[in-house]
Amino acid sequence: MATINATLSVSSDVTKYGFSINNTMEMRKAGSTAGLELTTGLARKTFTSTNHVDLLTAGSGIAADVTASKSAKVYIKNVGSSTSDYFTIGLGKSSGTGTEEAFDMADSGEKQAQLGNLYGGDWMLIPWQADSTNGYGDITVKPNVATTMSLEYMVFFE
């Protein structure tokens, strides 16, 4: 059993009275006090087109060993420094083309939702269900420009 701690600190003067978050979580197996023991390691990927593609495909590739519906955490960072170029991170089906897969709840094979945009230096940490059904749980990425941009990412899982 490993011990992995993630500590988030947010400080802001967005309100007159100040605003802060300071929280530490231990990454644990689902419903357990045992720590997550597996990781993909820190990966880095470079993109040179605006194609909408899978970054993490549930059940295959670098995420092949991630057990769906258990506990997993995904860290993603845009390692660039641009304040105008960004990656759109999504969940579900990637189109493989320069046009992002449209949201279509009526077609179970087309489910895709944007999570948000990571500009240069931005990062995120989320739980990941890794549902491999019709690609519902795939984590997708779409650069907004075709210039060279890089992401770093890491999955902690059981």
Binding site: I4, T83, P127
Partner: protein, 149 residues
């Protein structure tokens, strides 16, 4: 202009052969600028006792004020029981489960009518009652128009 800084450290002495330590920090800007985000929902705390799925923020209308802009979302399951989880979804797609003590931090695209962030406690969490905390730091959210009558 406000300045908001978010920092993350992930460390482990025994996950891999050598100690793992990752630290990163960023300043939260409005989309495509170096101007800091100036608005927040504030930190909310909710006590939930049903498994009903709820929207954490106002339901996104056809033309959200935050569409095409930048928003950041923090959600924390304050349960102390490690088996009590809350399920986080977006547009009815499951992102993942936050077990007791877990948190998440992510950017949020306020896509029109599609990207509501939802939360549903597990049966055990609801039965025991579960506190969740959440906030959004943003550059626009559409609040419901008043409807007294």
């Amino acid at each position: 202009m406000a300045t908001t800084t978010a920092s993350l450290t992930i460390d482990s002495s025994d996950l891999v052969g050598d100690a793992l330590s990752l630290s990163t920090s960023n300043t939260l800007y409005k989309a495509g600028t170096t101007t800091g985000l100036e608005q927040t929902t504030g930190m909310a705390s909710l006590y939930l006792t049903a498994t009903t799925q709820i929207d954490l923020f106002p339901v996104l209308p056809a033309s959200p004020a935050g569409a095409g802009k930048q928003s950041w979302v923090y959600i924390c399951n304050k349960a102390t029981d490690e088996t009590h989880y809350v399920r986080i979804t977006i547009a009815d797609s499951v992102i993942g489960d936050l077990y007791g003590g877990d948190f998440m931090w992510m950017p949020w695209s306020q896509q029109a009518q599609h990207a509501d962030i939802e939360l549903a406690p597990s049966a055990a969490a609801a039965a025991a009652g579960v506190f969740v905390e959440f906030t959004c730091i943003h550059e626009g959210i559409t609040y419901p128009t008043e409807a007294d009558s």
